[in-house]
């Protein structure tokens, strides 16, 4: 067998893994891989303007498509710039593979130019990572990296490849199947646990399904729907779970938690059985843990055993892939042989109660004839795009208003940094999603604060001719922090007011994109329509009510029933 250089092995591995697009930024320690990519010409490369953008774009690509996203960066600062993107993917269980160049092995540890121990730095925020010391190991490591990224609970995997390994030669044996004795994620749930869960369902009178990102990741949305329909149970979702169950379904209670709907939080608090599917009882969901769902038995399905029993005590833990587990659970529940009538009758008082909560405090906001309300923008955006858009968000108020007022009906239609809460995520993620789906409508909902954290990626989008739509809700504040200051710090707005924000319309034009602005409610619809219809990159800026808050809100450390309402 002819020998192959490490850099060619990388290209070959990418092709074998079916990688269509890479996001990256070159440099001295990765130049050889770039050269091999250029010579081969099969894999499309998107040149970003900052490596953080590359990691987020790979992440957005992965979230939208379900495939592994790949990004490329050089050693040292190139590698460290990806760290926020890696941590973002780690917290939300997104499969990405990050390839970094490294100084030659002989120089490692010498504080060489652009040397950093990126494997050490990313150890706690990757699912796994590798420093390749011998070119012979490279094909196996690359295959393992892709396998680890996508299997079990997905996550980011980093492979650090020194320059001499990129140029060293060895035979190329790419493993067809990966077997790792120390890594065997449980996919099939234990049938006894399914039966125990089914027993609890049989005895419940106030059940609620609490669905998280695991439903989206494992494509378990159909099974989830089947279970919810069979049982006639209400469903609430985490931020990551939005779209896993249709937001327009009559029994969808929308998002729960800190900025969740009143009825979702009340239903959780009063339920006697919580079916948690691919969710992890994060502090933003549970609020004060001692007061959380005190009357409920809990069934918890998750592929990662560490998620179970981490924050709350669980009555029936089910370790396994959500899709697999739900299929089995649906079967078991159907075997109970309860006719639809009986389910409905049984839960009628409960569903009535839930409806009553919903009508007592629906998701709402105070309308204003003169000032644009951000919620109104999101509502209009939803009316105009219903289900045919992929929405990415930044982090903060823009993200929460989107989660509340845009109804996500399909999985993978919301891309948002839930776990890490990374400002600057939305634009590069939208670029990644648009690369995966060139013909879909991709919209980034942003605030004037977070858009500026990765605004340089406008150039990337222009260069790739991506028709990404950017909605900026501009309140000239770091709005979410300002809201906390208003509520809990006696309105001392420390470092949250922007005295200078760029003219976003001109900024769009400076990049060769289109810029639109609305300053009055009457202009919102027109701007959105013009922006969405425009065939290229566009920024739509909305001058919104400056001190608008996100409500309901559960103050940090309070029980989820202690919501501040509109």
């Amino acid at each position: 067998m002819a020998k192959m250089a490490g850099k060619q092995m990388v290209v070959e591995a990418l092709k074998r893994e079916g990688v269509e697009v890479l996001f990256g930024f070159p440099g001295g320690a990765i130049i050889d891989i770039y050269d091999a990519l250029e010579q081969d010409g099969t894999v499309k490369h998107v040149l970003v303007r900052h490596e953080q953008g590359a990691a987020h774009a790979a992440d957005g690509y992965a979230r939208a498509s379900g495939k592994v996203g790949v990004c490329l960066a050089t050693s040292g600062p190139g590698a460290t710039n990806t760290v926020t993107g890696i941590a973002t993917a780690y917290l939300d269980s997104i499969p990405i593979v990050v390839l970094t160049g490294q100084v030659p092995t002989a120089l490692i540890g010498n504080d060489a130019f652009q040397e950093v121990d990126i494997v050490g730095i990313t150890r706690p925020c990757t699912k796994h990572n590798y420093l390749v010391k011998d070119v012979k190991d490279l094909p196996r490591i690359l295959a393992e990296a892709f396998y680890l990224a996508r299997s079990g609970r997905p996550g980011p995997v980093l492979v650090d490849i020194p320059k001499d390994v990129q140029n060293g030669k060895a035979e190329f044996h790419y493993p067809e199947k990966i077997r790792l004795r120390s890594y065997n994620p449980v996919v099939e749930p234990h049938i006894k646990q399914i039966d125990r869960a089914c027993k609890l369902i049989e005895g419940a009178s106030r059940p609620i399904i609490y669905a998280g990102g695991g439903v989206v990741i494992s494509s378990a949305h159909e099974e989830l729907m089947e279970l919810a329909e069979e049982m006639h149970a209400p469903v609430t979702m985490t931020l990551m779970g939005l779209g896993g169950f249709p937001g327009t379904h009559p029994r969808s209670l929308g998002m729960l938690g800190m900025h969740g709907s009143y009825c979702a939080n009340m239903a959780m608090a009063n339920s006697d059985l919580i079916l948690a599917v691919g969710a992890r009882f994060d502090d933003r969901v549970t609020g004060k843990i001692e007061a959380f769902a005190q009357h409920a038995k809990i069934v918890h399905i998750d592929v990662d055993p560490t998620s179970i029993q981490k924050n709350v005590k669980v009555d029936v833990p089910i370790v396994g892939d959500c899709k697999c587990a739900l299929q089995k659970l649906v079967k078991a529940v159907k075997r109970l042989g309860r006719p639809a009538e009986q389910w409905r009758e049984l839960y009628a008082p409960w569903l009535e109660q839930v409806k009553a909560w919903e009508s007592r405090h629906p998701l709402t906001y105070k309308k204003d004839p003169d000032i644009i309300k951000p919620q109104y923008v999101i509502e209009q955006l939803y009316q105009m795009t219903k289900g045919r858009a992929i929405i990415s968000t930044e982090v903060g108020q823009n993200q929460m208003w989107t989660a509340q007022f845009y109804k996500f009906d399909t999985p993978r239609s919301l891309l948002s940094s839930g776990g890490l809460g990374t400002m600057g995520y939305g634009l590069p993620a939208a670029i990644g999603a648009q690369m995966a789906f060139p013909d879909k409508l991709v919209i980034d909902v942003a605030g004037d604060g977070s858009i500026q954290m990765n605004i340089q990626e406008l150039a990337t989008a222009m260069e790739q001719r991506l028709p990404v739509k950017i909605v900026i809700l501009n309140n000239q504040f770091l709005g979410m922090v300002r809201q906390w200051q208003e509520l809990f710090y006696e309105r001392r707005y420390a470092a949250t007011r922007f005295d200078v924000t760029p003219d976003f319309v001109k900024l769009a034009e400076a990049y060769g994109a289109k810029g639109l602005r609305a300053t009055k409610p009457g202009e919102v619809e027109g701007v959105l329509k013009e922006g969405i219809d425009y065939p290229g990159l566009v920024i739509m800026e909305f001058a919104i009510a400056r001190e608008e808050g996100v409500f309901p809100m559960v103050p940090a450390g309070k029980a989820t029933t202690e919501m501040l309402l509109v």
Binding site: G120, R123, P124, L131, S182, P305, T306, Q309, K313
Partner: protein, 161 residues
């Protein structure tokens, strides 16, 4: 409560750092840690003594298992097990105490592994409690230096990792 975990881990560079990082990053305790290769050179055996409430120990075991390099984790303190530590103690041994040190060594079945005109270096092996006892008894005689291993442990009888 104290728990002694036996962990088999791939003998990869960085594996120990992943485990140490897991404990520091998640705020778990490590009371002692001992690592060496096994008969299979691709695996290392790590004995880790930690403490915490039951649900913390459950998390520790799960989190360890989640590491890609970790092959197996057993809480051997759940059953019968033997544990040993070793200490080297350099103790002052001048005219009036030389015989006393040797008497102590004899009682505790310690070994003198190095001798100088003014010191004995004593090797003591046993469970943590025994090491403690020896240290306490030698302390009044003048301990100049002490080096201790962490605990290594093994389940009793037929059980193996």
């Amino acid at each position: 409560m104290k728990h002694t975990l036996s962990v088999l881990v791939e003998n990869n560079p960085g594996a120990l750092s992943r485990i140490a990082g897991l404990f520091s990053g998640r705020g778990f305790n490590i009371e002692s840690l001992c690592v060496a290769t096994t008969l299979d050179p691709t695996l290392s055996h790590l004995t880790l003594v930690t403490s915490g409430a039951e649900f913390i120990i459950e998390q520790i075991i799960k989190q360890l298992n989640r590491l890609v390099d970790v092959y197996k984790v057993v809480d051997i303190s759940e059953g019968e097990f033997v544990e040993r530590e070793m200490a080297l103690i350099k103790v002052r041994a001048e005219d009036e105490t030389r015989a006393e040190v040797l008497r102590m060594c004899d009682i505790f079945r310690c070994k003198v592994v190095d001798v100088s005109s003014k010191t004995y270096t004593v090797e003591v092996t046993g469970p943590e409690s025994k090491i403690k006892a020896v240290v306490e008894l030698l302390r009044p005689l003048g301990i100049k230096e002490i080096a201790k291993t962490g605990t290594i442990a093994m389940a009793r009888e037929k059980k193996t990792l």
